[in-house]
Symmetry: C2
Subunit: 347 residues, 2 copies
Amino acid sequence: MRPTVHDIAAEAGVSLATVDRVLNDRPGVRGVTRARVEAAIAALGYVRDVAAANLAKSRVYPLVFILPQGDNPFMRGLEAQVRRAGLHSPAERTRLSVVSVPAFDAVALVRAIDAAIAEDVAGIAAVVVDAPEVSAAIARAQAAGIPFVTLVSDLEGSGRDHFVGVDNIAAGRTAGSLMGRFLGGRPGPVAVLAGSMRLRDHRERLDGFLAAMAAMPTARTVLPVLEGQDDPGQAFALISRCLAATPDLAGIYSLGAGNHGLVKALSGRTDAGLCVIAHELTADTRAALETGLIDAVLNQDAGHEVRSAVRVLRAKADGLPVNAAQERIRLDIFIKDNLPPAGPDEE
Amino acid sequence: MRPTVHDIAAEAGVSLATVDRVLNDRPGVRGVTRARVEAAIAALGYVRDVAAANLAKSRVYPLVFILPQGDNPFMRGLEAQVRRAGLHSPAERTRLSVVSVPAFDAVALVRAIDAAIAEDVAGIAAVVVDAPEVSAAIARAQAAGIPFVTLVSDLEGSGRDHFVGVDNIAAGRTAGSLMGRFLGGRPGPVAVLAGSMRLRDHRERLDGFLAAMAAMPTARTVLPVLEGQDDPGQAFALISRCLAATPDLAGIYSLGAGNHGLVKALSGRTDAGLCVIAHELTADTRAALETGLIDAVLNQDAGHEVRSAVRVLRAKADGLPVNAAQERIRLDIFIKDNLPPAGPDEE
DNA sequence: CTGTTAGCGCCTTCAA
DNA sequence: TTGAAGGCGCTAACAG
């Protein structure tokens, strides 16, 4: 049987309350006593039963997810995953809530962060845009003792506690590498469709992609980046125009959330030679993968990200360490053949 | 606050014990009473606090993993993951143990299963070979009320409760599809290195691969399967001979655990045109991916598999349903660029 | 058939 | 600075 607080109390010759004070290092214990208890803990190899501890404190952790609103399917999937995790959350004594803010809007984002701080939540997870006032808001959360994790797109200098998302530079490299191999010797330039260069993740993917393309045995032109603001209409227009203007186009890398417009622009075509790689598995990209319109999809699993964010925030709130290796989010590569069955929250 | 057993007892006008009996549907409750309690449960929207329940019963679940012994790196990685999971297992009130049996040995496997049944463990997870006596042993476990899950390679007709592993037909298809695209128009036949056609997973991968190759726009010869018994020496010999005999070889699909020999046979070569796809991310395949000797690795995450097996066995032991969607093991595709940092248990 | 009572391992008042 | 006692939500003896 595993040792319990009783065993430690007996071993150290103190009461349960004292053991508890030492375990949660709370004040009010003499140095000597503390040392004695710590010795007992070490001697018996005690490890606290977290479930019992949670039961006893019956504390709940209100966590806030701040996500961009709009019709970005990946973000809607992320929100669905938060809601889904919220159903199971009472078991882990967390209460999840979602706050939606206009996309690309630093001011609104800052307002949402400050509101969460004012509510004194136990942790904040947010998809942030890269702006100095956002970093300042994150610093305020830190100052208030509220753990903060960035989701999907990072903001390194901000002092956030943790980043939950993929390595976007590696994602871009992966896309470039796959595109290069799929194209082989086929000539022609490739186009890149992004949302906005103001998003750190989009910039990073582009950097990785360009690096990988440059490292390919055959040199290939990459056309100037098309920025569609992750808007279906704009993406459709940009891609349509590009296709018309570039008859020998060999490939398209869609690194943002403009896939609805992309697929629409592509769907009229019959040219099987065009290599298309996109990000995020959504209803659009899944269907396009199945019909062969898209060749590969790079994905970050929204469900994993949400669960990881919750675990990290809880750990930070309790002052526990996080296992970085376990919390690393992998970059999935999907082709037609390894597509998982559609989940309920995929849009 | 969430309703508790007390609330239900009050609402239904019965005692805690009766509520407990209904909840765990144990006998000794009159139909009417039961109905009244059930009504209260429904009315209050009660959901049981599993952590508290486990705490109260202080039951532990001894689970046995039966794995093939030998130097198969994937199996050793799997074993390491079981041991690692065993460290955290007291928290989930499980106790994990590993039993090693000679690979490809149905008799030894059956003996191990029967031993576990005799010990009255709470669940068995095993990497099984495809043989009628194995199915019979699984049936005995079932008869003894012991949940049984197959790991990595399935045995569908056996009545096992669950399969933890990837869809191996889809894995083969994925390999074929990638190989076809990577090769493009490059001519030449491809070779297949397997462990043994007696392993269901190897047969399934081969089937999928052949189907995908057949569906490619350009027809390509697939040489007769090389069976290396997952032995480094045999694999080395088979691949060396094949390379020598087939100067125009375009690709190799290694669908078993012969990668050490494969890499060794490949390492002398300088022909960059050969496309190599292998299974399972190990020290060998990781290094070969990094140096470019291997182009892609298909992987099933051993850590996920172990954790899934534990969850499923626990659920079955408690008579709870399993969420099939959550327990689905994904097929990972790794290329040089999306390789995750090496974990401690990878061999 | 049903209820009472005493824990599971831990935390938290409240006294001393 | 320390300890005693009660309770978190659930289960399991043992009575009735």
